[in-house]
Symmetry: C7
Subunit: 94 residues, 7 copies
């Protein structure tokens, strides 16, 4: 069973604190909006979404930074995921 | 008698708790916005809606996750349904 | 004398409670937004409305569900009507 | 001397209560937004207004229903008029 | 020295009370938004303003009604002017 | 070293009070929004800004009126400047 | 490991106070919105972002002024960065 996001949405899995430390990303305490690190597990088809052309730049496996206050959380077969729009992804960590 | 949604709207039927358990989706308590699981029972024609092209990606029978606070509830021949825009559907469960 | 709605507007006549019962639609008490059942009595020409192309999907005689808080109420030759935009019509009952 | 409205605006003259009675329109007290009956006395040229194409559907002499809270009131040579956008006209009474 | 407005802006000079009386326009006290009478003294070039095509319909010398709460006031060589967008001009008095 | 504004932004230098007096512009105390007089010192390239075509109408040396509450102030090599969008410039003084 | 921003986003590194002094930019205390000086360290691909064409005008190494209240702060391998949209960059210092 899979989660297939619609339109310009992606499904991501938040990386745990120990994974965060290994990746070298530390979020400072005083920032206005703290981005979160996550891994992309599913990518929507993009195309015309709400009348605007959206091309998907992300692929499954990408490590990404996303805006903390965006998206919807779900728990699926024991793991928590977040469904959000590609535009809420700030950057890819390579 | 049928409900035929207009434009980019779909009619969905919320899945009951026991169905939720079988599908493996569990919604965690602390999430900001809890998506809901439902089955699509009718799909609008799409086309030009409010001057923007909307292509319908959903079909009758799809299991979907939708945003809890969207749409209008109705009771029809003893069953509750929700009418909402396709854009309020987050993902399809396959 | 007739009411001819402009642009993408339609004129509808709310169905009475007894008619509601016959149609099988019951509106549950706890819903966030209760749609209302009505019959379409006049349909605007559509076309370019506010610079966007709107095609009218409704016709006179359609039974429709509409969003309760939309439109303007008028009383015309003893009967109450509501004038609202087609986009405020959720679905057609067939 | 004349009032020539710009763009998609029209100038209308509110119909008096006795005229309202003759026309058969009665506005119920409990409505959320009470439309008003008026006669069109001047129509703007339409065309491209704010970058969007607006075609004027109204003509001088039309009896119209308009949204009460829209437009600007002026008094001109002893008569009160309202200047408002065509989109604030709900319907034509024929 | 001149004031040359940019884009879709116009410069207008408010007409004094005595001029208002001569023109026959009286603004009633209870109106929601009182338009003001003024004379156009400078007109911007129009063209593409904020990505939308705006054609200037006004010319220097036009007597206009404008929305009271729009625009910026300046005093220039002893005379007060208002700089506002053409869309804030309601109508031309001819 | 220079400040090169991006997109449709311009850099302006506010004119001092004595310069204001010489230019004949006096700002009345009771106005809702007082425009300010300034000189343009740098002009962005314009072009497609946020998907909309913006053509720059201003050039270095223009005396302009701008809206007081717009833009960002900086101090550069001892002089204060304001960076703002061309659309916040009301008019050119010639 | 690198941070690759998506769409029209850029990654910048704030310049320290001593660097600010050397560059000659001083931010006055009473300004409404204080722009900040920073160096660009990564630039997104631009292209169609949210259905609008965005061309990237910035390149790695540019010294820029940016709006203080925009973007997301991250700490990466011991250095703080800010991820923000190109449109939040006010100007380039050359």
């Amino acid at each position: 069973m899979n989660i297939r996001p619609l339109g310009d949405r992606v499904v991501i899995k938040r990386l745990e604190a120990e994974e965060m430390t290994k990746s070298g990303i530390v979020l400072p305490g005083a920032s206005k909006e703290k981005p979160q690190e996550a891994e992309v597990v599913a990518v929507g088809p993009g195309g015309f979404v709400d009348g605007k052309e959206v091309k998907m730049e992300l692929k499954v496996g990408d490590k990404v930074l996303f805006s903390k206050y965006s998206g919807s959380e779900i728990k699926f077969e024991g793991t928590e995921y977040i469904i959000l729009r590609q535009d809420d992804i700030l950057a890819v960590i390579e």
